[in-house]
C-alpha cells in the first residue's frame, strides 16, 4: 500500500496546510520578528538595523526587571500551588465519587464561571477583598474584626486569590482526565494486597494521577505569569508583573527592541522553568496507563 500511504500523506498535508499556514503567519512569524527585534538597536521612533546584545545586557542588569520577574515567578508559582492543591480533591471527587451520568453536569458547572467576563470577575474580587469589600464589611458588621483585614487588600495575596479563581478549571480538567484513565482494578489489587485506603491512594492513585497534575501545573503556571489584567486592576498598577512591564516598554516608551528582549527573556525563563519541572517529574510521566 505504498501509493495509499503517499496519498494519505499528501491528503493529510493538504488538509493541515490552511490552519498550519495561519498559525505560522499570525503566530510563528511574529514571534520570530520579536526575536529578531530583540537583537536590534532602538533609535527615536525607529529601529536601527544593527546587531547588538545590548538589550539583553540591559535587561539582565536591570534591578527592576529582576524584581518584577521574581515577583511574576513567585505569584505564578504560588497560584499554581494553590490551584492544583485546591483542585485535586474536586477532580478526585468528580472521578471517583460522582455518578457517571452526572459527571458532565458537574464539569459543565465548573467550567461556566471560567467563560464569563474575565475583566468583571477580576474587578469583583477587588470588590470582595477591598477596604469596604464584602469580606471586610461582612466581618465588621458581625463584630469579628474592628479594622479591615489588611493582608487581602490590593497586594500580592489578593492577586494570588484572583488568579487562583480565574485558572481553577484549568487545573481541575487535566487532573480529572488523568484520574479517569486509572484502571480501577489496580486500586482493588492494592486493597487486596493489604494496603490501607490511604496507602493505596499514596502508592497507586497519586503516582498514576501525576501526569495530570504536571499538566495542570503547567497549564496554570504559563498563562498566569503573563497575566496583564489582574496586576493592572487588583494591584492598581502599583505591583506590576512582567506583562505590564513588556507593555510599558513596547507602547508607553515605544522601545520595541527592549520590549522584545524583555518578552524573549521572559519566555525563555518560563520555558526553562517548565522543562525543569517536567524533568523533575520524569519518573511519573513514564508511567504507562
Amino acid at each position: 500500500m505504498a501509493s495509499g500511504n503517499r496519498s494519505q500523506k499528501t491528503q493529510g498535508l493538504g488538509l493541515i496546510a490552511p490552519p498550519l499556514g495561519y498559525a505560522v503567519l499570525v503566530m510563528a512569524a511574529p514571534l520570530l520578528t520579536i526575536l529578531a527585534y530583540s537583537f536590534l538597536k532602538d533609535g527615536y521612533l525607529t529601529v536601527i538595523r544593527e546587531f547588538t546584545f545590548d538589550n539583553y545586557r540591559t535587561v539582565w542588569g536591570d534591578p527592576i526587571f529582576h524584581k518584577i520577574m521574581l515577583r511574576s515567578l513567585g505569584v505564578a508559582a504560588l497560584v499554581t500551588l494553590v490551584t492544583v492543591v485546591l483542585a485535586f480533591p474536586v477532580a478526585y471527587f468528580l472521578s471517583f465519587v460522582v455518578d457517571p451520568r452526572k459527571k458532565s453536569m458537574w464539569l459543565f458547572l465548573i467550567t461556566i464561571p471560567f467563560w464569563t467576563s474575565y475583566l468583571i470577575r477580576v474587578f469583583l474580587w477587588k470588590v470582595i477583598l477591598g477596604y469596604n469589600g464584602v469580606i471586610n464589611s461582612g466581618l465588621k458588621s458581625l463584630g469579628i474584626i474592628e479594622q479591615p483585614l489588611t493582608f487581602i487588600l490590593y497586594n500580592v495575596n489578593s492577586m494570588v486569590i484572583t488568579l487562583a479563581h480565574a485558572y481553577a478549571p484549568f487545573a481541575i480538567l487535566p487532573i480529572f482526565i488523568a484520574l479517569e484513565k486509572i484502571d480501577r482494578s489496580l486500586l482493588e489489587a492494592g486493597r487486596d494486597l493489604g494496603e490501607s485506603r490511604i496507602m493505596t491512594f499514596w502508592r497507586v492513585t497519586l503516582p498514576l494521577a501525576m501526569p495530570g497534575v504536571v499538566a495542570a501545573a503547567l497549564i496554570v503556571f504559563i498563562p498566569t505569569i503573563g497575566d496583564y489584567v489582574t496586576p493592572a486592576l487588583i494591584g492598581g498598577g502599583k505591583i506590576p508583573m512582567i506583562a505590564n512591564m513588556i507593555q510599558a516598554q513596547m507602547l508607553d516608551l515605544d522601545n520595541r527592541p527592549m520590549g522584545s528582549a524583555l518578552a524573549v527573556t521572559a519566555m525563555l525563563i518560563v520555558a526553562i522553568m517548565s522543562l525543569i519541572f517536567v524533568a523533575l517529574n520524569r519518573r511519573f510521566l513514564r508511567v504507562k496507563q
Binding site: 493541515i16 459527571k103 458532565s104 477591598g130
Partner: protein, 268 residues
C-alpha cells in the same frame, strides 16, 4: 451518601467559583452608587442607562462583528485541522499539531505584542480586522479540540460505504461526514464566539481606536460613577454566556450521542 466530606468540599469549591458571579446581579440591581455593602434599594436604572449608552452600543456592535467573524474563521480552520489529525497520518504531525495548539498555552500578551509589532512595522492600520486576525488565532485550538472529538467518534466505515456507493470524496464529506459532525461545528462556533466576545488583551492592543466590549469595560472601571452600569452590563453578559454555553454543551452531547460514542466529559 458516598464521599460526604469530599462532596461538601466540592460544593464549597463551587461556591468559591461562583462567588463573583453571584455578586454581580446583586450590585446591578442595587440603587447605591458605591459597590459595597450594605445594599440600598432595588433599581433597574443601571440597565436603562446601559441601553441608552451610545459608546457602549458601538463597542457591542464591534464585538459582535469580531466574535462572529473570528468564530467562523476559527471553526473553518479547526475543521481542516481536526479532519487532518483524526483521519490521516502525515510527516511532522506531532510538531504541526503542537504549533496549531500553541496559542492555548502561549500568554496572550506575547501573542498580541508580537502581532502588534509586525502589523505596525508593515504599516497596517489597526482596526477590528486586526482583532479578528488575533482572535481567530486564539480560538483555533479550542475549535480544533472540539472538532477533533466530533471527527474522532466518526465510524470510518460510513465514509467507505459512501465511496462504495459511488460518492466522490467531496460529496461523501458533504453528505455523510458533515451532517454527523454538525453538532461539533455548532458547538465550536458558539465556544469561539464566547471566547472572542470576552477576550481583552488582544483587543486592547490590536483594536486601535475601535472599542470592543471588554476594552470599553476596562476603560470604564476607572470611573466609580460608571461601575453600577458596568455591573448591569456584566449581568447581561453572564446570562448570555450561560445561555450560549448551555446550547454549545447540548450540541456537543447530541453530537456524541449521534455517533454513538461515550461521553467523556467537559469542553477541554
Amino acid at each position: 451518601m458516598k464521599g460526604g466530606g469530599l462532596r461538601i468540599y466540592a460544593i464549597l469549591y463551587l461556591l468559591f467559583l461562583y462567588a463573583p458571579i453571584i455578586l454581580l446581579p446583586i450590585f446591578a440591581f442595587n440603587s447605591g452608587t458605591i459597590i459595597a455593602f450594605p445594599l440600598k434599594g432595588f433599581t433597574t436604572d443601571w440597565f436603562g442607562q446601559m441601553f441608552e449608552n451610545a459608546s457602549l452600543r458601538r463597542a457591542l456592535t464591534n464585538s459582535l462583528i469580531i466574535a462572529v467573524s473570528s468564530s467562523v474563521f476559527a471553526t473553518c480552520l479547526g475543521v481542516f485541522a481536526a479532519r487532518a489529525s483524526t483521519r490521516f497520518e502525515f510527516p511532522g504531525k506531532g510538531p504541526i499539531m503542537g504549533l496549531i495548539m500553541l496559542p492555548l498555552v502561549l500568554p496572550e500578551i506575547i501573542v498580541s505584542i508580537s502581532l502588534l509589532v509586525v502589523l505596525l512595522s508593515i504599516g497596517v492600520q489597526l482596526n477590528i480586522l486586526t482583532v479578528i486576525l488575533g482572535h481567530t488565532l486564539i480560538c483555533m485550538p479550542y475549535a480544533t479540540v472540539i472538532l477533533s472529538t466530533a471527527f474522532n467518534s466518526l465510524d470510518r466505515s460510513l465514509e467507505e460505504a459512501a465511496y462504495d456507493l459511488g460518492e466522490t470524496k467531496w460529496s461523501a464529506f458533504r453528505l455523510v461526514i458533515l451532517p454527523l459532525v454538525m453538532p461539533g461545528i455548532i458547538s465550536s462556533l458558539l465556544m469561539s464566539f464566547t471566547i472572542s466576545l470576552d477576550e481583552f488583551i488582544i483587543a486592547f492592543f490590536l483594536a486601535g481606536n475601535e472599542p470592543t466590549l471588554p476594552t470599553y469595560i476596562f476603560s470604564q472601571l476607572r470611573f466609580p460613577k460608571q461601575i453600577p452600569m458596568i455591573m448591569a452590563l456584566g449581568t447581561v453578559l453572564v446570562v448570555m454566556s450561560i445561555i450560549l454555553l448551555t446550547i454549545a454543551e447540548y450540541f456537543r452531547r447530541r453530537g456524541i450521542a449521534k455517533t454513538g460514542a461515550k461521553d467523556t466529559g467537559g469542553f477541554l
